[in-house]
């Protein structure tokens, strides 16, 4: 595989729920500067935001990398949270383990992972209970 043309790295702060989304908004800005089409930008930034929110809600933060290749964009999310017990369940719309305080903010509707799948062309989840979750998503250009 050819080398990524641009790579972006972000640390997602697990403490500060109000600043969640900063990485996604930065990615949106960077993609726009690179002349990527608005529809691709929308897909990548929404998928990334859902991932960011998940890391804040469930994993106490984590790391996010965006790699831009000539023909696709790859988003890598890594956290050291509790892991996902049942990925099949978690992928179903409406299924969520988010606490009530998160739901009152408008999150925790069980649409995070489904949205990430909806807006990307490929999505792989690797999760180990007690160790963390690693997600790789690809959006074709």
């Amino acid at each position: 595989m050819s080398e990524a043309v641009v790579t972006l790295h972000f640390s997602v702060d697990g403490e500060d729920f109000t600043s969640a989304g900063q990485a996604s908004v930065q990615v949106k800005k960077s993609l726009r500067q690179l002349g990527i089409s608005p529809e691709i930008i929308r897909k990548v930034s929404i998928a990334m935001y859902e991932g960011e929110i998940n890391m804040v809600i469930h994993a106490g933060g984590g790391e996010a990398d965006v790699l831009i290749y000539e023909d696709h964009i790859e988003i890598r999310l890594d956290d050291h949270g509790p892991g996902i017990a049942n990925i099949e369940m978690a992928m179903q719309e409406g299924w969520s383990t988010a606490p009530d305080n998160i739901r009152s903010l408008g999150f925790g509707a069980g649409m995070g992972l489904p949205n990430m799948k909806r807006y990307t062309d490929e999505m792989k989840i690797n999760s180990v209970l007690g160790e963390g979750t690693h997600i790789v998503m690809k959006v074709n250009l």
């Binding site: 729920f17 109000t18 969640a20 989304g21 996604s24 908004v25 949106k28 608005p38 529809e39 929308r42 930034s45 929404i46 935001y49 859902e50 929110i53 903010l105 408008g106 999150f107 509707a109 069980g110 649409m111 995070g112 489904p114 949205n115 909806r118």
Partner: protein, 109 residues
Amino acid sequence: MTVHELAEALHLETIVEADGKRKIDGCYIGDLLSWVMGRAQSGNVWITIMSNINIVAVASLADVSCIILAEGVTVEENVRAVAEAKGVNLLASERTAYELAASLKDLIE
């Protein structure tokens, strides 16, 4: 129709007009943020009663044309400031989401 024209036609309160010339295209109503990101289309008017800071990021990422806060919902100063910084149009009304959407339909269809 532009966001500015919409605000005038529906007598909306303008909290932030970051891009009044943005064209509006359809409407989405919802308060669950991931539903909005999953279902709202680019250019939609987004009507909600959710007023926390995360609505700004959601509006920006989902690329809606504006947010209308329904039913007299107000936002804190930091939400206004972030909307301005991120270029998100933020409007408000005392009317319900249903009333706003019904009036919007008359305007754009």
